[in-house]
């Protein structure tokens, strides 16, 4: 039993320990520090996510408890058919997988054009919490003598009084159980919130999920605070009354339990009030100008957002996505943004599907600062729709203490070298993986020839057989900083960051060609305040701001002066910060025909599941 409890608490204790780690790593404890607590206090994004999580949980718990309780009471008096129907329907959210509920709700909200955000998240939480309340209250109601309510009314109580004075007090244990369950489910929910939220409203789970690009120990600090709070509350509620019952304590004071109760009551009232303020706060505002920006996670220095708000007297609603595809899905599902920062091929797709409006370069004072070599690329000729935000290529990051330099000459084929079996990270992305295979085979990465794709598929499945690589997402960054494996396929910007943290690491782009990419800022058709949108683009291209941004994120800046300077100072000698621009075999991704896309997506799933 002790082992089992250890099992539960090991991860929690680990979390707590690493919250005091002085470095960012989640693997090596380098020393004691409180820096993550400090950054927690200053991180408005995390704090507002805490606010959202708590307020959604509190409101959803209150609403679903009331709704669930009255429904359970009503059910016990309803006709049998209705009762069975309602109970069966009620079981659907409990019995069907979270992800199905999430998708159902997402489709619902999308199709009734309900703007996603705090309100939809709240609705969804009420939706999946209420059934739990009903299932825990209903049996209690059933066990109440049918005549109890009659008796109360017989004695002069109105139906409402009968409910509040007799029935509810009698079923209290069930109500409390349901409430607790609802709160637990709501506060811990990720899947449903992830699908139904929007407009920059994020709860803790979503922050944690999006923060995986660069592991952010601030989250650990937050968890530690949460854990401590829970223990304090538990102590106050469970243990304090026990102590109060002891003789020696009794003599000291008398009414501790009552006091505790009061404090608790007060605290919950405060929580509700706080939640309502939150709720109100999100729907107030809107008097000033707003700009909605949608960017990849961990892809900006957030101080720039505040600076922009200050300079242009507006409000920036900043939201993040974890891949171009999820961004596209979100936009397709009806989310409206002013500025999006997608990659090249996605820019082409959005432009083709008429989602973008042209950028008026005469409004951009700083457009001339952009490196000419990355302008006017095939995915967006003349930069009609997009202005570069960051750029780079894809290459192999290797541990120079493990990988022999001579092996590198094989180009991408090194990724199939059995000497490095179980020692390789691949990037869990269909397009990037196929790019590697296609380039290794000497094809274009934008091929539309299915037989070439088939060959690439064979290359990849052969690779899987030979070296058994691990397909990872952005956690590759932290893993390589910790030096867990010898090689990894990474974006140049991430490589630059990893190399700055781990000096054994080197970056190399194979001669046989790789993928060059540009992430660009685009203005959507939904954007009304185009002047402000142009201001934002221009703002990001300003020398000072671009410098702050590139330094924090580690990706290559599109602003020439900044790029030159940073590559000679902060990232001096860091080959990943200066992607090569002269290899004719390097290509940009282009928009893929849906049929080809589907074809390679299926091949990729095959590779992964083989």
């Amino acid at each position: 039993m002790v082992l089992c409890f250890a099992f539960f608490y090991v991860p929690i204790i680990i979390t707590m320990i690493f919250s005091f780690n002085s470095s960012k790593s989640f693997a090596n404890f380098t020393g004691f520090s409180l820096r993550w607590y400090e950054s927690l206090i200053n991180d408005s994004e995390i704090l507002s996510a805490v606010g959202v999580s708590v307020s959604v949980a509190v409101i959803a718990t209150v609403v679903s408890t009331i709704l669930g309780t009255i429904t359970a009471i009503g059910l016990s008096k309803s006709r049998k058919i209705l009762k069975e129907w309602v109970l069966n329907i009620n079981n659907i959210p409990i019995m069907s997988p979270d992800i199905v509920t999430a998708i159902g709700l997402m489709i619902l909200f999308t199709s009734v054009k309900l703007e996603k955000g705090y309100f939809t998240m709240l609705l969804a939480h009420i939706c999946f919490c209420t059934p739990y309340v009903i299932t825990s209250v209903y049996p209690k109601v059933r066990s109440v003598d049918v005549n109890i309510a009659n008796a109360a009314m017989d004695l002069g109580a109105t139906p409402f009084q009968a409910l509040t004075k007799v029935i509810v007090p009698m079923i209290k244990p069930g109500i409390y159980a349901g409430m607790l369950l609802a709160f637990t489910m709501s506060i811990d929910d990720f899947v449903i919130s992830y699908f139904v939220s929007g407009n920059g409203v994020e709860n803790i789970s979503m922050i944690v999920y999006n923060a995986t690009k660069r592991i952010n120990p601030t989250i650990n600090a937050l968890s530690t605070v949460v854990i401590m709070t829970i223990f304090v509350v538990v102590f106050a509620v469970k243990i304090a009354p026990v102590i109060a019952k002891q003789q020696w304590f009794r003599r000291l004071s008398v009414k501790i339990p009552l006091a505790v109760k009061r404090v608790f009551l007060f605290a919950s009232c405060a929580a509700v009030v706080f939640s309502l303020i939150q709720f109100g706060g999100i729907y107030r505002g809107g008097t000033t100008k707003t700009l909605k920006v949608y960017n990849a996670g961990e892809y900006i220095d957030e101080s720039l957002l505040e600076l922009f708000e200050e300079q242009f007297d507006c409000k920036v609603i900043y939201e993040t996505f974890d891949s171009n595809e999820s961004m596209y899905t979100k936009v397709m599902s009806g989310e409206k943004y002013d500025i999006i920062i997608p990659s090249d091929y996605m820019i082409e797709r959005l432009a083709k599907e008429d989602f973008l409006q042209p950028v008026d370069k005469s409004l951009l004072d700083n457009f001339d600062n952009v490196i000419p070599a990355i302008l006017n690329q095939p995915f967006d000729p003349e930069n009609q729709y997009s202005i570069p935000y960051f750029w780079g290529n894809v290459g192999i990051l290797y541990d120079s203490t493990v990988v022999r330099e001579s092996d590198l000459e094989a180009g991408w084929e090194i990724l199939r070298n059995p000497d490095y079996k179980d020692n390789i990270y691949m990037y869990d992305s269909e397009r990037d993986s196929f790019m590697i295979a296609l380039k290794a085979l000497g094809y274009s990465l934008n091929t539309t020839d299915k037989s070439e794709l088939d060959r690439a598929y064979e290359w990849l499945s052969e690779q899987k057989r030979l070296v058994n690589p691990v397909y990872v997402g952005d956690d590759v960054i932290d893993n390589m900083v910790s030096g867990y494996k010898a090689m990894a396929v990474v974006y140049s910007g991430d490589a630059a960051y990893i190399m700055s943290e781990n000096e054994n690491m080197r970056f190399y782009a194979p001669e046989c060609g790789t993928n060059l990419w540009i992430d660009g800022m685009v203005i959507t058709k939904d954007c009304k305040n185009t002047a402000l949108a142009h201001d934002w683009i221009d703002f990001m291209l300003e020398d000072e701001n671009a410098a702050v941004n590139t330094e924090m994120v580690g990706y290559s800046s599109p602003v020439e002066a900044v790029y030159t300077e940073i590559s000679q100072t902060v990232y001096e000698g860091n080959e990943a910060y200066v992607p090569r621009q002269d290899n004719p075999k390097d290509e940009y991704f282009r928009y893929q025909d849906p049929e080809i896309k589907k074809y390679s997506a299926e091949l990729w799933t095959k590779v992964k599941t083989q």
Binding site: N150, A151, M153, G156, P169
Partner: protein, 349 residues
């Protein structure tokens, strides 16, 4: 009884259907002040439904319900001047004895001191003084019963409805409570409407007994009336034990059954009308065979404490007889009864 008085509650042709099943098929009944009225009948006869309609928990489909001359069928239960003692008491488990009893007064926002006084008075009335702070779930059945009565009476209703209140008690306690209930009724001087399926309970406590069956009222009358003058076969069978014999009314005061003519006191039937005859077991005497028209053989004898229960087999049927004398099984006997012991009823269909 007092038919000259104005009735307190009037039920006029009440009907009620649950799930396609007609429970009440037209019930009309007058209930008077200070009356102890019992609705008696087998389970499913509609007696509890009648009570619930009076209390306001169920609404009649059709018919009128008048209280003090005013139509109240749409009035919710909490606005009616009646209170109920429930079958399983329906005490509030989260409240103690005091708070259970004080519930009605607290709902009316009565002053605390008054509540205190009234509750104490009620506890004295039901003999539970000193139990104020007890948890109701820790009380015995009889004690819970008393709390339920006190809880209802404290509201000073004009009518107290009791739904099989003694059903859950053991035989001895039941007897005690019967007396107690009657005593309380006389003390508070209000109408009691009492529902039971136990004919003994009904006969010993009531001023008026209403015998119900199959959604109809079969007979209304004093306990003596319904016992001695059952109006039909059902009433005769349900109340007490009886020998029911099919026969023919030759003319007034002369009835024919089992091959013989008997003198009786019943009149008002058509000549030669088919009728039922009731002979109560205790009204039949066992005599020497030659002294009686009906003759038979003792087929069984069971000692019942106060009397013997004897079955005598005659030519047409077995007669049930209660007597204090012992008669051996197998002995030939004669059966006699006086004209006033014969009760003639309409044949029921």
């Amino acid at each position: 009884m007092n038919t000259s008085m104005k009735p307190l509650i009037e039920l006029k042709n009440i009907t009620k259907t649950f799930d396609d099943q007609q429970i009440l098929k037209g019930v009309s009944l007058n209930i008077y002040e200070k009356e102890f009225l019992t609705l008696l009948g087998p389970s499913g006869c509609g007696k509890t439904t009648t009570l619930r309609i009076i209390a306001g928990f169920d609404e009649a489909d059709d018919g009128d319900l008048l209280f003090d001359g005013i139509e109240i069928s749409k009035l919710p239960p909490y606005k009616r001047e009646v209170n109920t003692v429930f079958q399983k008491y329906a005490l509030f488990p989260h409240l103690n004895v005091f708070d259970n009893i004080a519930f009605g007064l607290n709902i009316k926002k009565t002053e605390k001191s008054v509540v205190q006084q009234e509750v104490e008075k009620m506890l004295r009335l039901v003999g539970l003084s000193g139990f104020e702070n007890r948890d109701v779930t820790s009380l015995s059945g009889g004690q819970q019963q008393r709390v339920a009565i006190a809880r209802a009476l404290i509201n000073k209703p004009k009518v107290l409805l009791l739904d099989e209140p003694l059903g859950a008690l053991d035989a001895k306690l039941r007897k005690e409570m019967q007396f107690e209930l009657k005593k309380i009724q006389q003390e508070v001087g209000i109408t009691f409407i009492y529902v039971t399926h136990d004919q003994e309970e009904a006969l010993s406590m009531s001023d008026t007994v209403v015998v119900m069956n199959d959604g109809y009222i079969q007979q209304i009358g004093s306990p003596t009336d319904v016992y001695n003058e059952p109006e039909n076969r059902f009433v005769a069978q349900f109340i007490g034990e009886s020998n029911i014999i099919e026969g023919k009314m030759i003319r007034d005061c002369l009835v024919f059954f089992d091959d013989f003519e008997f003198e009786c006191v019943d009149k008002g039937f058509k000549d030669n009308e088919e009728i039922d005859v009731v002979l109560r077991p205790e009204d039949i005497d066992i005599v020497e065979p030659q002294c009686a028209k009906l003759q038979g053989v003792v087929s069984s004898i069971v000692f019942k404490g106060v009397h013997y229960e004897i079955l005598v087999e005659t030519k047409y049927r077995n007669y049930l007889i209660h007597t204090t004398d012992y008669h051996e099984v197998g002995r030939a006997v004669g059966l006699t009864f006086g004209p006033e012991d014969i009760h003639v009823m309409w044949k029921s269909f």
